[in-house]
């Protein structure tokens, strides 16, 4: 267990410089979009009230309050998080391939470590999960900072402040990543974890059988996808016999079974089939 912790730490530290850069980018672009929005609203206020002599009430009636809600739904505010999410997705592939295809073949060293090889699998998976949780936590943590920036620029009379929870609810992807009830949290992350596990297994299939492995991995991935969506197919065949909730739970059960099978398969590949 101690070695597993060291492995996770080691893997995490390898991505840390890129991760910090990503978080800085997220902060800067989001802050820039808040500043841009705030100054735009401020100039509208100035123009309406000073130049055109509109009253505060008239302005608010025409334009509404300036609020984080307007920024949170904008594309530019979501863009850095999309970039970070895509980077983490690419890293799911890169986290394995860099050990084979990097300048030095580090996979030799990893496979020779005195730990059960499946621990490499779990440590890399744990790092991906940590990166996602870290990104979500960072996003939640900087939302109040963004609101402070808005407060510094827009006078209180023209502003509608939101609570942090209100901002989380207003940001589409955070609604998904931080759902209100625990069951949704388990389901959302359960599917995410199952996806990573299946993808890791596909990578290990390819690394074990190389050219032939590309086709086997593709077959495995497509098969997994069909299985996960099979309850929908069943629903169509049975003409909406099941409740939507039941379909979701069936999918979730299939995802769990697939994850378990993938872990056993990965363990077998790492111990018996993998090549440096």
């Amino acid at each position: 267990m101690k070695l597993f912790g060291k492995l996770v730490n080691f893997e995490f530290m390898r991505f840390l410089p890129i991760y910090i850069t990503l978080l800085v980018i997220v902060f800067l672009i989001e802050a820039a979009s808040v500043i841009f929005y705030a100054f735009m609203v401020k100039s509208e206020i100035t123009e309406s009230i000073v130049k055109h002599g509109l009253s505060k009430e008239q302005f608010l009636q025409d334009n509404g309050y300036a609020s984080m809600i307007n920024i949170l739904s904008s594309f530019i505010f979501s863009l850095p998080v999309v970039i970070a999410a895509v980077t983490i997705f690419i890293y799911i592939l890169f986290i394995w391939y860099r050990d084979w295809l990097g300048k030095n073949t580090f996979i030799y060293r990893l496979l020779m470590l005195p730990v059960k090889r499946i621990q490499l699998f779990f440590s890399k998976g744990a790092v991906i999960l940590m990166l996602v949780f870290g990104l979500v936590a960072f996003q939640v943590a900087i939302l109040p900072v963004m609101q402070v920036i808005l407060k510094l620029i827009i006078p209180v009379d023209y502003r509608l402040d939101l609570t942090t929870q209100g901002m989380v609810r207003s940001l589409y992807y955070l609604r998904f990543l931080l759902p209100e009830n625990f069951i949704d949290f388990i389901i959302n992350y359960g599917f995410g974890i199952a996806f990573v596990i299946v993808l890791f297994t596909m990578i290990l299939i390819e690394r074990s059988y190389r050219f032939r492995g590309v086709f086997i991995a593709a077959f495995y991935g497509i098969g997994a996808l069909i299985l996960v969506f099979s309850p929908y197919i069943l629903q169509i065949i049975m003409k909406d016999y099941f409740f939507d909730n039941e379909v979701l739970w069936m999918q979730f059960a299939i995802a769990i079974v697939l994850s378990i099978i993938s872990i056993f398969l990965s363990n077998h590949l790492l111990n018996r089939k993998i090549r440096v």
Binding site: K6, G102, N104, T105, F106, M112, P114, K116, S208, V276
Partner: protein
């Protein structure tokens, strides 16, 4: 003792190892000799579980391969296996974090022996120094067996001499060494046992001293007989 029995290995339809059987004892230097493609590296990788084999059995001191048993063996590949951005001291830290049998004192001794500096980055090492660091990482472990893959490959004469000196030092004393090479001249006088490979089979296996004393032949003489008829 590392014992290989009937190891068979194929890449697709191509057969790489065709029933390799030999033993390497502790306290001896066993040299796997053969031209490129003879299967030398594959044998070492099979012992380390770095490439799968289809048939046969490998045991270390009578036990099948497992993470616990593998702590008895250290592998020195012919390529650098540490991250380029690591400094040598980071590599030491990495090894001591993960290996109970990492001997920091010995690592520093070898570092001094090879005239390397802890602050040097892996990416900035010359080819000769890369080979030395590779060797260092393997030798600094308190392992019973050392597997070395082509330690002299592509390096200058002075580095070769330095590396060859290691074989006659206390650093490998009492340990079992399996070394692969196709450049036998550097270590001919140091090896105890030679295993001549060709086309994935053991063509001849002999104790070098016995051949020298009883037949008055060098390892190279025996190689000529085996490979050139």
């Amino acid at each position: 003792m590392i014992k290989l029995t009937g190891i068979e290995k194929r890449y697709g339809r191509k057969s790489i190892l065709n029933g390799i059987t030999f033993e390497a004892d502790k306290g001896q230097i066993t040299c796997l000799i053969g031209i490129n493609g003879a299967g030398k590296t594959t044998i070492l990788q099979s012992i380390m579980g770095l490439t799968p084999y289809q048939k046969g059995e490998i045991t270390i001191d009578g036990e099948k391969l497992s993470p616990e048993v593998m702590e008895k063996v250290t592998y020195i590949p012919d390529a650098m296996t540490l991250l380029p951005k690591m400094r040598i001291k980071d590599a030491f830290q990495f090894m001591s974090d993960f290996y109970q049998n990492w001997n920091d004192e010995r690592a520093k001794e070898i570092l001094k022996f090879f005239k390397l500096k802890e602050e040097e980055r892996i990416s900035q090492l010359s080819k000769g120094n890369t080979a030395k660091v590779n060797l260092l990482m393997g030798l600094a472990m308190d392992a019973d067996y050392i597997l070395m893959d082509e330690p002299f490959s592509g390096i200058d004469i002075f580095s070769r001499e330095q590396i060859a000196d290691v074989f006659s030092s206390h650093l490998v004393e009492d340990r079992g060494v399996i070394i692969t090479t196709h450049e036998i001249s550097d270590i001919e006088h140091l090896i105890d046992k030679a295993v001549l490979l060709a086309d994935g089979v053991v063509r001849k296996e002999f104790m070098t001293e016995q051949v020298r004393e009883e037949e008055a032949k060098s390892v190279i003489d025996v190689m000529r007989e085996v490979y050139q008829g």
